[in-house]
Symmetry: C5
Amino acid sequence: MIKKIHHLPKVITKPFRKSYYHQPGTLPGTIIINENAEPPNIILIDYNQTTLIREQITNPEDCANYLDTESVSWVDVQGLGNQDILERLGKVFDLHPLVLEDVVNMVERPKIEDYEDQLVIIARMVIPKEQGYGFYSEQVSLVLGQYYLLTVQEEPKYDCFEGVRTRITKGKGIIRKQGSDYLAYCLLDAIIDGFFPILELYGEHIEELEEEVIVKPTPQTLQKIYQIRRELLQLRRAIWPQRDTINFLIRDSSELISDEVRIYLRDCYDHTVQVMDMVETYRELASGLMDVYLSAVSNKMNEIMKFLTVVSSIFIPLTFVAGIYGMNFNTEKSPYNMPELNWYWGYPLCLGLMAIIACGLIFFFWQRGWLSNSVRMKRNSK
Amino acid sequence: MIKKIHHLPKVITKPFRKSYYHQPGTLPGTIIINENAEPPNIILIDYNQTTLIREQITNPEDCANYLDTESVSWVDVQGLGNQDILERLGKVFDLHPLVLEDVVNMVERPKIEDYEDQLVIIARMVIPKEQGYGFYSEQVSLVLGQYYLLTVQEEPKYDCFEGVRTRITKGKGIIRKQGSDYLAYCLLDAIIDGFFPILELYGEHIEELEEEVIVKPTPQTLQKIYQIRRELLQLRRAIWPQRDTINFLIRDSSELISDEVRIYLRDCYDHTVQVMDMVETYRELASGLMDVYLSAVSNKMNEIMKFLTVVSSIFIPLTFVAGIYGMNFNTEKSPYNMPELNWYWGYPLCLGLMAIIACGLIFFFWQRGWLSNSVRMKRNSK
Amino acid sequence: MIKKIHHLPKVITKPFRKSYYHQPGTLPGTIIINENAEPPNIILIDYNQTTLIREQITNPEDCANYLDTESVSWVDVQGLGNQDILERLGKVFDLHPLVLEDVVNMVERPKIEDYEDQLVIIARMVIPKEQGYGFYSEQVSLVLGQYYLLTVQEEPKYDCFEGVRTRITKGKGIIRKQGSDYLAYCLLDAIIDGFFPILELYGEHIEELEEEVIVKPTPQTLQKIYQIRRELLQLRRAIWPQRDTINFLIRDSSELISDEVRIYLRDCYDHTVQVMDMVETYRELASGLMDVYLSAVSNKMNEIMKFLTVVSSIFIPLTFVAGIYGMNFNTEKSPYNMPELNWYWGYPLCLGLMAIIACGLIFFFWQRGWLSNSVRMKRNSK
Amino acid sequence: MIKKIHHLPKVITKPFRKSYYHQPGTLPGTIIINENAEPPNIILIDYNQTTLIREQITNPEDCANYLDTESVSWVDVQGLGNQDILERLGKVFDLHPLVLEDVVNMVERPKIEDYEDQLVIIARMVIPKEQGYGFYSEQVSLVLGQYYLLTVQEEPKYDCFEGVRTRITKGKGIIRKQGSDYLAYCLLDAIIDGFFPILELYGEHIEELEEEVIVKPTPQTLQKIYQIRRELLQLRRAIWPQRDTINFLIRDSSELISDEVRIYLRDCYDHTVQVMDMVETYRELASGLMDVYLSAVSNKMNEIMKFLTVVSSIFIPLTFVAGIYGMNFNTEKSPYNMPELNWYWGYPLCLGLMAIIACGLIFFFWQRGWLSNSVRMKRNSK
Amino acid sequence: MIKKIHHLPKVITKPFRKSYYHQPGTLPGTIIINENAEPPNIILIDYNQTTLIREQITNPEDCANYLDTESVSWVDVQGLGNQDILERLGKVFDLHPLVLEDVVNMVERPKIEDYEDQLVIIARMVIPKEQGYGFYSEQVSLVLGQYYLLTVQEEPKYDCFEGVRTRITKGKGIIRKQGSDYLAYCLLDAIIDGFFPILELYGEHIEELEEEVIVKPTPQTLQKIYQIRRELLQLRRAIWPQRDTINFLIRDSSELISDEVRIYLRDCYDHTVQVMDMVETYRELASGLMDVYLSAVSNKMNEIMKFLTVVSSIFIPLTFVAGIYGMNFNTEKSPYNMPELNWYWGYPLCLGLMAIIACGLIFFFWQRGWLSNSVRMKRNSK
C-alpha cells in the first residue's frame, strides 16, 4: 500500500511556506543571509535621451557617482548572498535600516513606504514554470529616488524585465525621454503583466478539469482541484496588496512621481484589478468544480449501486425458490412433503414461477425509473 | 465508454478565457491585431435638429471635418482587423496611446477614463444567442468629445444599437435636439437594457431546472446548473464594473455631460443596479438548486437502497432455512440427523416457519417506517 | 412514473420573474401597458382639519383644482390598464417622462428620486395570501408634492392602506392636522408593517419544518425548505432597497419633509431594519434546516443500512455452512468425503456450529456498538 | 413509530418568534397590552450622596415630585399589564407617543433615540435558565433625563439589576456620588455582563458536544448542534445592535452624558465587543462541529459497510462453490457429469479450494488496506 | 467500545474558554485574584545611554523614585497572585480603576486606551509549546508613561522579552539611546514576531495533513483538521485586535510616541498584517482540507463498494444457476423434470453457461469503466 502511493504523481510538492521570520526579540533592522542564496550580481544601466551606459558593478560604491546626475541610473541587484555588499549598498543609497531589512529578508507581502526622498516598493513577481502550469514567485524591491532606481531581486536566474531592458538599449518608445519614475512604472507594469500568462494557463487547466470532472472523475482530479485552489490562493496573496501599492502611487502626493506617469500607473492599476478579478473568478470556478466533482463521483457510485440492487433484488428471490426445491424432505413419508417434486409439470412450473417473479421485479424497477438511466446511457453508447 | 461521452450534448463548449494579454514587458500602448478579426467597417452619422448625414467611411481622415462642427458626429467602427486604419483613427481623434491600446485590445473589464476633453468608456455588450439561452459578449469602447462620439465594436455582425439608429434617422424622441452626451447615454442605456432579455431567459431556464431537479434529476441536470453558474459569473463580471462607470458619469464634474443627461443617467444607473440584483438573485437560486439536486439524487438513491435492504433482509434468512433442509445428513444413521425431513408435516411446517419469519420482518420494517415512503408513493402513482 | 409526479402537490408554482423590461434601445420614457392590466380606478381624498372630500375621478384633469390648495390631496390610482389616462395624469402632475415610465412599468426595485418640487418613491408592498403562507407582491409609487400625494398601485384588488383611509375619514390621530408628508409617512409605515404578518407566517412555517425535518423528513420537506429560501430571497429583494429609501428621506434636506415627520420616519426606519433582521434570521434558519434535513435523511439511511449489514453478515456465513453440507460428494467412495453426514451427532453439531457463528457475530456487532442505536430506539418506542 | 418520537427529549421547544407587531395601518403610537402581561410594579429609588428613599409607587403621578430635584430618581417599572398606568407614566415623564409605543410593545431590536432632554435606550437583557444551558430574554427600556432614569421591564420576575440596587443602598463604590448617567451606565453594564455567564455555559456545552461528536455521535447530537446555532443566532441579534447603542452614547454630544461616564461606557463598549466576539467564535465552532458530526457519522457508516463488504465478498464465492457441488447432475450418465463427487479426495480438495479462495480474498483486502482500520482499532481496544 | 475511545490520543484537550468574567452587576473596577495565580515577581530595569540598574522589587512603592527621572524605567510584573501588591502598584502608577481591572482580570481582547499622560495597551502574547504544534497564550498589559513603562504578565514562567532584555543590558542597537516609547515598540514587536514560529509549525502541520488526507485518511485526520481550525480561530482572535491597537499608535496624535518610533511601529504593523494574512490563508487551507478529507473518505468507500458490487453481481446469478440444478425434482416422473441432469454433457454445459454469464458481466463492468480504477491502481502498486 505504502509503496503504491509513492508511485502516484506527487502533485503537491511545492512547500507553501518559507522561513521568512527572524527570531522574536531580534534587533529591528537585522539582515539575515540565507545560506543557499546566490552572491549578488549588480548591473548598472545609466541612460538619458542621448547616452547609455551599461556595466557590471562589483563594488557598490561605484554606483555613487551616477546617483546624483540627472541621467536615470538603474541599479539592478540580483541575488542576496553577501551581507557585506548589501550593507555597503544600503550606505550608498542611504537606506533606513528597516528598509534594508525588508529588502533583504523575504517579507512576503507587497507594500510601499514613503521616505520623503525615497519611495520603497516591495513587489512580488511571478514567473511561469518551464512546463506544466504553476509558477515561481520572487520578491522584487524597488527603491525610487529622484534620479535613480534601485531594484533588488531574490533570484538571479530569471526575471520579467528583459523587455524593459531591450526598450532602454534600443531606445524604443518614450522610455529614454522619461525619468526614473517612468522606469519604475515600466517595471511594475512588467510585473503585473507577468500574471496574465500564468492565469491563462490556469484558465486552460480549469477548462481541462471541467471536462475531466464530468467525463472521467478520478481521485487525482480532486488533488488537482485542491492544488489549483491552493495556488490561486497564493496568487491572490501576491496580487491583493499590489493593488494598494499602485493605488498609493496614484493618489499619493509624492513629488517623485510625475503627473504624466500617474496616467500610465492608472492603466497599470486597471490591469491589477483585472488580475484580481480573474483570480477571484477562477477561485469561484474551482470551488464550483469541487461541488461538481463530488456530485459526479456520487452519481457514478449511484449508478453502480443501482445495478447491484437490480441484480440482487432479482436473483435473491429466485435463488430462494431454487433453495426451496433443493430441500430434502422425504416425499414418501407424506403427501404434503414437497409433492411438487413429483408432479409431471413440476420443473417447468417452477421455472415459470421464477420467470414471473423476475419479470414482475423488472417491471417494478422500470416503473420506478430505476432502469431508465442505465438504459438511456446504453443507447447513447451505441 | 469513451465514445459514449462524446455523444452527450456538449453543454460546456464556450471557452471562458481569451488571449487578451500581450507579452509582459511590452511597450505600453502597443496595438495587437487579432488575426481572425474582421476589417473595420466605419459608419459616420452626423446630425442636428435639422440635418442628417449617414455615410460609410473608408479613410479615417474623412471624419476630421465633422468633428469640430456643432452637429453631433457619431463615428461607429465595427471590427478591429486593420492596424493601419486604427492608428490613423487614433490620430484623427487625438487618442492617448493607452486609450488606443485599451480600445483595440480586449481588456475585458469595463472602466472609464477622464482625459479632460475626452471621456473614454469601455463597456461590455451582451447579445442573446439565436437559440437556447446563453449569450455572446463583445467589448464596446465609447470616446466622448464635445461634438462627437466614437464607438469601437469588436464584431461587425451584431450590436444592440439598431433602436438608437432608428431614433436618430426617424427623429423620434428628443435625440436630435440633444448633444453627443445624450447619444452616449442612449448607447449605454441600450447596452444595459440588453442584459434584461438574457436574464429573462436565465430566469426561465432556472425555473425549468427547478422542475427538472425535483422531478427527474439526471447527471445532465448537474452540468446545466454548473453551466448556469458559470455564465452568471461572466454576466456578473460584465455588469459590476459598469455600475462604477455610470456612477462616475453621474458624480463626476466633467463638463462633457450636461445636467439634463445626468438625470437620464441616474435612470440608467438604476437599471444597472437592477441587473446586478437579478444576477445575484439567480446566482443564489442556482446555488440553492445545487443543494436540492444533490439531495434529490441522494433521496432517489436512498429509496433504491431501502428496497434492496427490504428484499435482501427478507430473503436471506429464508434462503438460509431452505439451505438447512437442503443438507444431506444421513437420517438413517441417527434419529438426531434432520428428523424433520421425515416428519409427516415437515414441509408445511417448514413453509410456515418461513412465512412467519417473512411476516415478522415485514412488520418490523413497517413499524420502523421503512416501507412508508414507497407505499405512499405508490398510492400517489395510481 | 410521469403521471405520479403530476399528482405531487406543486409547491413551486409562482413564477419568479416577470416581463418587466422593454426592448433594448427603446426610447427612454416609453410607457408599456400590460394587456392584462385592469383599467385605472382613481380615487381622490382631499382633506384638512375641518373638511373632507372623497370622490371617484374619471378625468385626470379633474384633480388639477385640488393640487395647489393647502388642503392635502391624495390621488390614489389603482390599476395600470389605460395609457391615455396615465399620460394625462402625468401632465396634470407635471411628471418627468422617466418618472412616468418608472411608475407605470414594473421596475421591481424600490428607490427614491428627488425632483426639487417632487419626491418620487417607488416602494414594494406585500400582501399575505388568503391561505397558506406566501404573499402577493405589488409595486406602489408615491409622488409627493407640497400639497398633494399621488399613489399608483399595480393592482386594484387589494392594498394595505385601508387603515390609513379609516384614520382620515374618522379623523383618528393627528393625520388630519398634518400635511402630505405625514400622509406619505403613514402609507410607507403601512407598507413596512405589512411585512410583519407575512414574516410571522414564515416563522411559524419554519418551526413546523424544524419539527418535520427531525421527526419525519420526506422529499417534500426539501421542496418546502427550498421554497421558503426562494420566497425569503424575494422578500429580501423587496425590503433592502426600502431601507435606503427611508434613510434618504430622513437624511435628505428636501423641504417637502418636515422635521416632525422625520421623527416618525425614524420609527419607520427602525421597523424596516427589524424586517431585514428577521428576513436574514429566517434565511439563516432555513439554510441550517437544509443541513439538518440532509443529515436526518442520511441518518435514517444509515440505520437501514446497519440493519441490512447485521442481517446479511449473520446469515451469509450460515448459509455457506448449510451449503457445504448440501454438497453431493459421494461418501461411499472415500472416508474423507463428508464423513460428517454419517456421524451420529452430525446434524446437531452442525446446528451448534451455526449457533456459535451467529452468537459470535452478534457479540462482535454489539461490542462495536452497531446494535446500540437500534436497541436504544426500540426501548424508547415501548 | 409515531409514539416513539414523542418520547424523544423535545429539545427545540422555545418558540423563536413572538407576536410583536400590530396590525398594518394602525395609528402610530398605539399601545397594545398583552393579555398575559403582569400588572406593573413601580419602584422608586431616589438618592444622592447623603439621602436615600426607596418606595413602592402606585400612582405614577407620585413620581413627579422627585424628577426635577437634583437627587437621582430611578423609577423602575416591572410588568406591562395596565394600559392606564402606562399612559399616565408617559404623561408624567413627558414621553413622545412613539417612545411609549416602543417601550410598551416588544420591538425586539435594541436602539437609541435622542430627544434632546431625554435619551431613550431600548436594550435586551438575557437571564440564564435555572437549569441546563439556554436563557430567557427580556426587553428593558431606559429613559434617561437630567435627574432621573426611568426603566421599564417586561417581566417582574427576574432581572440582573440586583447588584446595582445593593450598591446604591449600601453606598458601595462611587454610585451615590454620581448622576443619573452613571446609573444608566451601571444598568447597561449589568445587562452586558449578563451575557457572559450564558456564553460560559454555551462554551461548556460546545466542549461537551465536541467530545460527543467524536466519541458517540447520535441523531440527538445533531439536534443539539442545531439548537445551539439557533440560540447563538438569537444572542447575536440581541448583542449586535447594543454595540451601536453604546457607541452612540460614547460618540454623541448629548449633554446628558458626562465625560467621566463616557470613560466607563468605553469599558462597557469593550465588553460588548467581547461578547460579540465570543458569539461569533461559538457560531464558527458550532458550524465546524456540524461538519465533524456529518463526517463522524459517515465514518461510522463506512466502517460498517466495510465489514459487510468483507464478509459478503468472502462468503458469496464460497457459497457458489458449495452450490456447484450441491447440483444433482447424474454422475452415472456420463463421466463428465461432476466426476469430482466420486473422487477419493473430492471433498478435501473442495474444502481446500474454498480455503484458498478465502485466503486470497483476505490477502487482497489486507493489501488494499481495507482491513487496517478495523485491525488497528481492535488493537487500541485491548 | 467505551474503553477503546479513552485509549485514543485525546487531541482536543485544551479548554477553549476561561472564567474571565465577574458576576453581572459587580462594581466596575473590581479586582478578582485567581486562586491559582502565582505571586507577583517585580523586576525593575532603569537605564539610559550611560547607566543601567536592574533589581528585584518587593515593595511597589520602591518604583516611585524612578518613574519621574528622565532615564527609562521598565517595571515588569510577572504573576497576578497578590491583590494588595497590585493595588499598591495601581496607586504608584496612578492607574484608573478600570485600567487596573483590565490589567488584572483577563479580558481576552487586545485593546488600547489613551489616558492623556498614559497609554494603556492590552496585548496577547503566544508562546509555542515545548513539543508538538500548539501554543500557550498569555495576556500582557503595557502602561506607557513619559519616562516609564509598566508591563504586567499573567505568567512568570515564560515570556518572549528575553531578546529585548539582552539588548538593553548589552547595549545592542539604539535601544539605550531611545525613550520608553521605543521600549514599548520593542516589546510589541517581540510579541508580534512571536506569532511567526507558531504559524510556521502550523504551516508544516498543514502540509503533513495534506499528505495524510490524500494517502491515508483516518478518523484521527478529521480530529486534527478540526483542532487546527479551532486553534487558528484562537490565533485570529488574538491577532485581529492587535492590528487596530498598533494602527491606533501610528495614527494617534499622543505625545507619548515620537515620530521616529512611529516609523518602527509601521514596520511592526506590516508584520501584524502579515500574521493575519497567514492565519487567514491557513484557515482557508484547513477548510479546503476538510473538503478533500470528506472526498477522500468517500472515494475509498466507493472503491470498496465497487468491489462488493462486482463480486456480488457476478456470483449471485451463478449461485442461482447452481441452485436450479440443486433442486430435487423427480426426473423419473416426467421427461420435463430437469432432463438436463441426465444429459451426457449436462455438467460441462452448465459450467459453460456459468462461464458465459460471468464473462458477460465482467465485460459489462469493464465497458462501464467500473473496473478501471481498481485495475489502474493495481498496476501502480507493482
